[in-house]
């Protein structure tokens, strides 16, 4: 049995940011990691993936990017090397099996023994499990099902066509890669966002950062439930700074269809709402660009002239059904989102949908969670957002420990 003040579960960038924040406050702690630090990047990402955030946004907490290409996009391999170079009190190869107790008296059961501690930080990631629609079960057995967590590369898939379901970053990137590999690719498009890679001579994320769209704190948001469902940034990091939107995908041969609404008798049925979802994404993009233009005009920032993008191109009459067998679709990739895995947390802290309840990351006295969508700001799921969240939550833990003392 071990004892420490704070146990951090998970050594991704969130857990390591918290480790750094606790170290700065002189709080004794242990980071428990089932694999190696950066395990998700080592084991749950596809082969070709590069970060979609530019390098200047990808420094691990307290270590800003120091390379020569701040506007480039590092490969996952390069990002993993940053984890290798990290020194934190990490117990690797240690899987947490259960957490019980309360502030001052948490019991963390691991496959390497019991650890007692005063406070706990959950940093096991927002993307631990795929989020699948209920009708995934209705797919014919002959169709191979994958998720972005299990997908590695096009050669891994059975011969034939692919239906990619979901048009946020993962779905767009995977559809692009499959089409470029010569696969017939149909992309089912639900609620989505649209972003250009660059705008007015700079990375769109540079503008979003400067304008402050990542900063609005969770407690000032109108409808937190809604913003917590906002899809990931629909971008890709490539050396040529490609824009990855539905127009770009259609130009390389991807067919777009509406939201996948049901699977019946081996047929995928798509919603007829595609036009509206594309219009909504175009309008939202224009609102963002208006905000950026206004900011540039007000601050006199250096920028190329403004531009507007052509609306999303739609097929004349988008497909409403797809007979998987006769159309030769052998694989379905569910890029329908991710969810966390907190099944080992044996405390009454979940809502009716099984989601952990928290107030800006504070779950209960002495118990915090990190890395969830809009935990404290829109930045909370980004590498660049972890340091600020960790600092705020470390302050909470510090107070909890002081109250107890």
């Amino acid at each position: 049995m071990k004892k420490t003040t704070t146990v951090i579960i998970g050594a991704g960038h969130s857990g390591l940011a918290m480790s750094r924040a606790l170290e700065a406050r002189g709080i004794d702690h242990l980071v428990l990691e089932r694999g190696q630090p950066g395990n998700s990047w080592r084991t749950e990402r596809w082969d070709s993936l590069s970060l979609l955030t530019p390098n200047w946004m990808n420094g691990l907490s307290g270590r800003p990017y120091a390379g020569t290409d701040p506007d480039g996009y590092m490969t996952v391999g390069a990002f993993v090397r940053a984890f290798d170079a990290w020194d934190a009190p990490v117990m690797t190869g240690t899987t947490v099996l259960s957490v019980t107790g309360s502030a001052g008296n948490f019991r963390v059961q691991t496959d390497q023994g019991l650890i007692l501690c005063d406070t706990v930080v959950i940093a096991t990631g927002a993307c631990a499990l795929p989020r699948l629609p209920a009708f995934a079960d209705a797919l014919p057995g002959a169709v191979r099902q994958m998720t972005p967590i299990t997908y590695r590369n096009p050669a891994d898939l059975p011969e034939g066509g692919v239906l990619v379901v979901g048009a946020s970053a993962s779905g767009l990137q995977i559809a692009r890669e499959l089409a470029l590999a010569g696969r017939r690719t149909v992309l089912a498009v639900g609620n989505h966002l649209r972003l250009p890679r660059d705008y007015r001579g700079a990375d769109i994320l540079r503008w979003m950062d400067r304008v402050g769209v990542f900063d609005l704190p969770f407690d000032q948001v109108d409808d937190l439930e809604r913003v917590r469902r906002t899809p990931s940034l629909p971008l890709i990091g490539t050396p040529t700074r490609e824009t990855l939107d539905l127009n770009a995908l259609q130009a390389i041969g991807v067919e777009i269809a509406g939201r996948l609404a049901a699977v019946n008798d081996g047929k995928a049925l798509f919603s007829g709402s595609l036009a509206n979802l594309c219009t909504a994404a175009d309008l939202k993009l224009n609102r963002l660009l208006d905000t950026i233009d206004t900011w540039i005009a007000r601050t006199g920032a250096n920028a190329a002239p403004p531009e507007r993008h052509v609306p999303t191109r739609l097929p004349g009459s988008p497909r409403l059904s797809l007979d998987l067998r006769t159309e030769g679709i052998r694989t379905v990739i569910w890029a329908t989102g991710y969810r966390p895995d907190h099944r080992w947390l044996h405390l009454p802290v979940f809502d009716r949908k099984g989601r952990i309840r928290h107030d800006g990351g504070v779950v209960a006295d002495g118990l915090c969670v990190m890395g969830l969508p809009y935990l404290r700001s829109r930045h909370s799921t980004h590498i660049a957002g972890a340091a600020a969240d960790a600092a705020a939550l470390a302050d909470h833990l510090n107070r909890s420990l002081a109250d107890a003392a």
Binding site: N191, D222, E225, G258, A261, A262, N264, L269, S271, G272, S273, N276, T279, A280, L283, N286, R287, S317, R352
Partner: protein, 188 residues
């Protein structure tokens, strides 16, 4: 709600406060949010039928409209019928237009946008070779539906487009028309 809504007193006749209150309350009481809508239809003569709506279930118990409403339906003379009312197809189109139009008003109210006039024109294309059983490859229903809004409001063109987009995202009938639903029909 944002500050803008509070300074501008917008009157679209939608009680957003009550709707937002209901939304907040129902989020914590999922059972109360379970509704069942009903209509009872009686055959009159030929293709003429009369539906009555009055009761529905929701908020955990039986509910009722303040009075009962009837909806007549028939077919025009071109179908050798007596034309006692709109076709069921036109009722569906009207339902879609009503649902989207009501949605536009509600979203406008929430966003602090004053409406002056809203008109929705709906068209549904149909190859009746389907319903007549002439061609098995033609579906019975619409091959395409178009809704065109004409909106006069104190807002920019983009803001109006966003109202219409959001109304579609929240519309029950839009969802009913655009997505498949399992329907079971039985005989008592």
């Amino acid at each position: 709600m944002n500050v803008q809504n509070q300074v501008k007193a917008v009157q679209n006749g939608v009680n957003t406060e009550a709707l937002l209150g209901a939304r907040a309350a129902l989020a914590d009481m999922p059972a109360a949010a379970q509704f069942t809508w009903r209509a009872t239809c009686e055959w009159v003569d030929g293709t003429h039928s009369r539906s009555v709506v009055k009761g529905f279930f929701g908020l955990g118990e039986e509910q009722s409209h303040t009075k009962s409403f009837t909806v007549e339906s028939d077919h025009p003379p071109q179908f050798a019928a007596a034309d006692n009312g709109p076709t069921p197809i036109e009722i569906v189109l009207s339902a879609l237009a009503s649902c989207l139009t009501g949605g536009v008003a509600a979203v406008a109210q929430h966003r602090g946008i004053q409406l002056h006039a809203v008109t929705a024109k709906v068209e549904g294309d149909m190859d009746i070779a389907g319903v007549l059983g002439i061609d098995a490859d033609v579906r019975n229903g619409f091959s395409a539906v178009r809704v065109s809004f004409d909106i006069d409001a104190d807002a920019t063109a983009d803001e109006i487009a966003a109202l219409v987009a959001q109304s579609q995202k929240r519309s029950a009938v839009f969802d009913i028309v655009t997505n498949p639903t399992n329907v079971s029909v039985s005989v008592a």
